[in-house]
């Protein structure tokens, strides 16, 4: 969409005004400074998703819309998790699970470790699930980003 103030608000407003669901939303400028790219995860029947796409097309600030479900695609989300490690053995649990999930410990404190983990939403959910025996202090998730595999590309 156009990298202009108000563009994001139009998209978010469309979803709330028409009662569509936003599971996650992430937006940032692209290699073309006039454009920003927004990845939004929503749920709905085929009819609803079709209607959402049409309504998005109607927004003047929206340049192109692509339903990634129509293509083989890669989905990634980043999550930062702060975990209480005061319980005995907690550090080892964090290290072991981080290894399994190919996560990285990016901050170590006396009371807590902070871990960075990247992957699909399902993987991130799995990571949190695996930590269930520990106390998670804080979770920050970026929301999903997606890109089609192969030569298919969303560009102007």
């Amino acid at each position: 969409m156009e990298n202009e103030s108000g563009a994001l608000s139009r998209v978010a407003g469309l979803f709330s005004a028409r009662g569509y669901n936003i599971e996650s939303l992430t937006v940032a400028p692209t290699e073309d400074a006039t454009l920003s790219r927004l990845t939004l995860v929503t749920v709905g029947s085929n009819e609803i998703v079709e209607q959402i796409i049409k309504q998005l097309h109607k927004l003047v600030d929206v340049v192109k819309v692509m339903d990634l479900n129509d293509y083989p695609h890669i989905e990634r989300e980043m999550m930062l998790v702060k975990i209480d490690v005061q319980k005995s053995g907690a550090c080892d649990v964090v290290k072991r699970i981080s290894d399994i999930f190919r996560a990285r410990i990016i901050d170590v404190g006396e009371k807590s470790y902070t871990v960075e983990v990247t992957g699909s939403r399902g993987k991130l959910d799995g990571f949190l699930q695996a930590l269930h025996e520990l106390r998670v202090v804080e979770v920050v998730r970026s929301g999903s980003m997606g890109i089609a595999r192969g030569a298919v590309a969303l560009h102007v």
């Binding site: 969409m1 156009e2 103030s5 108000g6 608000s9 139009r10 407003g13 469309l14 005004a17 009819e47 079709e50 209607q51 049409k54 309504q55 097309h57 109607k58 003047v60 600030d61 929206v62 340049v63 192109k64 102007v156």
Partner: protein, 566 residues
């Protein structure tokens, strides 16, 4: 040449061919009003008495001409007062460009005097809006606003201009063309879809044309009429589509929907093919969506792809400008060796004529009973030879106007269909009268609606607008009362107006002519007398039957074949 922002604004309007601006001044637009003062020989500014009135007037202007209406109001309350009109225009796809003043850029976000975030407030009810943040962008933004408002599915576009931008100077040049990479409305319909549509049309045994406001907006009444005559199909119009096909023509089976005719709704319900053109399957049209047209295949022509299959799944969508697509449909049908076989739809017409025999719009005006609103509208139609511009407010009178004034031409029926805005009628009539100074313009209204923008009587006096106000006064908010009678066991909660003004004196106080009509035998004479006063606004207060209902009716949740007749 270097001009101030305010002067650039005026030059842009001239370049767009704007002859009339509806508005109301205030602090944030003082530089613009100063520039307009100097340009008053070229641009006519109409001073409304409330910003809502200014927007509705611009809508009346736009709906009766298909040209964009232009509004200019100040920041803060000026802008918020315009919101109802903007939302109204959005729902009815009216091309409008609304300019709002904004506080100087340095004060934006500071809770300055008369500051509101009007771009934020109107975002859900405009086609698009802009905040001008640099004088360099002013002219191109205005160009974009007119382009967006008047192309594709039309709609309101708002341009918010901070005061300091109107004061500073910049080199003026108006772009001759504009292109917006993300905005390219489809105009031409897909040829293959057109061929498939004609295939279905040739097979149909129980077809119906269901057409809406899109035909009026596209200026496609002639194409629609040609197509309807060529097919021989029955045609029904939505509330917004009235006049696109002559209502006095035998192929016209009346309006459809909640207060549509018995024959139109039954024709829809039993049809095997619906050709929907410039209509949007609104809930007031479809009734219960589960029971909507169970046997029909649907062809849907519309310029807005989001309208297609939004409420009802469509078999053949054709996205494009209705005028172009109708021309393509005509060409395709004419190119076939065999056209529509009248014998194939003869039984269907017999059935429709049976439904017509219910005479669902009949009423009984007894000479010694109170005046019936239906009778007034029917007489108005006769007295004006069916050739007036009719504006209406919202409620029972609106439905009676739609049912009993037989519109033979497009752009003659000006009402608030989508948003249902009480207070629309009188200011809209002003806008129509300004666009068509010689025409007869009537505002059919009620004692509730008229009071919502009554202040515009002063505007009518200032500009000598001889609007004829037909107030169907029943002392009730009639449509609310009707629903309370039907569905709330006659608990008339807040639908009775216990203290009405003396409308005759009120009209006179505003400098107009007031008339009160209480007997059926006086209706026609009074209408003729009023219409003869070519240069005066006449407020006709018809004291009508208090507990009169709009029939027939599809109750909420019912199907088209479940109408209440009387």
């Amino acid at each position: 040449m270097e001009l101030t922002g305010a002067e650039i604004f005026v030059e842009c309007l001239k370049a767009e061919g704007v002859d009339t601006v509806f508005g109301y001044p205030g602090g944030a637009v003082l530089y613009i009003y100063d520039a307009l003062y100097k340009a008053q020989n070229e641009i006519n500014h109409i001073l409304a008495r409330h910003e809502q009135g200014a927007v509705h007037a611009a809508e009346g202007y736009a709906k009766s001409t298909n040209k964009p209406g232009v509004v200019l109001v100040t920041s803060g309350p000026g802008a918020t007062n315009a919101v109802t009109g903007i939302a109204d225009a959005y729902m009815d796809s009216v091309p409008l460009v609304v300019f709002t003043g904004q506080v100087p850029r340095a004060l934006i976000g500071n809770d300055a005097f008369q500051e509101v975030d009007i771009v934020g407030i109107t975002r859900p009810c405009v086609k698009h809006n802009f905040l001008v943040t640099r004088i360099e962008d002013l002219a191109s933004t205005i160009k974009k606003a007119f382009f967006i408002a008047s192309t594709g599915r039309p709609g309101p576009v708002l341009v918010d201009i901070p005061k300091d931008i109107t004061q500073m100077s910049y080199e003026f040049s108006y772009p001759s063309e504009i292109s917006i990479r993300s905005y390219n409305p489809t105009v031409k319909g897909n040829k293959r879809q057109v061929r498939r549509a004609i295939d279905l049309i040739l097979e149909a045994k129980r077809p119906v044309l269901y057409t809406g406001g899109g035909v009026v907006l596209a200026g496609a009444a002639q194409e629609l009429t040609d197509f309807t005559r060529l097919t021989g199909f029955p045609i029904t119009n939505t509330l917004m589509g009235l006049g696109a096909y002559p209502a006095t023509d035998p192929q016209f089976i009346g309006m459809l929907g909640m207060h549509g005719t018995f024959e139109a709704n039954h024709t829809m319900h039993d049809s095997d093919l619906i050709v929907a053109i410039g209509a949007r399957f609104d809930d007031r049209v479809t009734g219960n969506i589960e029971k909507f047209c169970p046997f029909a295949k649907i062809i849907h022509v519309d310029i807005d792809p989001a309208t297609i299959s939004k409420n009802v799944k469509v078999d053949i969508p054709i996205v494009g400008d209705v005028k172009h697509v109708l021309a393509d449909l005509l060409e395709e049908l004419r190119s076939r060796e065999q056209g529509v076989n009248p014998a194939q739809i003869a039984d269907w017409w017999n059935q429709i004529n049976e439904w017509r025999k219910t005479k669902c719009l009949s009423y009984d005006q007894k000479p010694d009973s109170p005046i019936l609103a239906q009778y007034v509208v029917e007489k108005l139609w006769e007295v004006t030879n069916g050739d007036a511009y009719i504006c209406s407010d919202v409620g029972q009178h609106q439905m009676w106007a739609a049912q009993f004034y037989k519109f033979d031409k497009p752009n003659r029926w000006i009402n608030s269909g989508g948003l249902g805005t009480m207070g629309f009628g009188l200011p809209a009539a002003m806008g129509v009268q300004i666009a068509h100074p010689e025409a007869t313009v009537a505002c059919i209204t009620g004692d509730g609606s008229i009071q919502m923008c009554i202040q515009e009587l002063a505007t009518c006096l200032q500009y000598g607008l001889p609007v004829k106000i037909i107030c169907l006064n029943n002392g009730y908010l009639g449509m609310v009362r009707q629903w309370q009678e039907f569905f709330y066991e006659k608990r008339y909660s807040m639908s009775y107006m216990e203290a009405l003004p003396d409308f005759v004196k009120l009209a006179e106080a505003y400098g107009h002519v007031g008339m009160r009509i209480e007997n059926p035998s006086d209706v026609e004479g009074a209408l003729r007398e009023a219409m003869a006063m070519k240069d005066r606004l006449v407020f006709m207060d018809f004291i009508t039957s208090a507990e009169n209902n709009v029939y027939p009716m599809v109750p909420a949740g019912a199907g088209h074949n479940e109408m209440i007749l009387v």
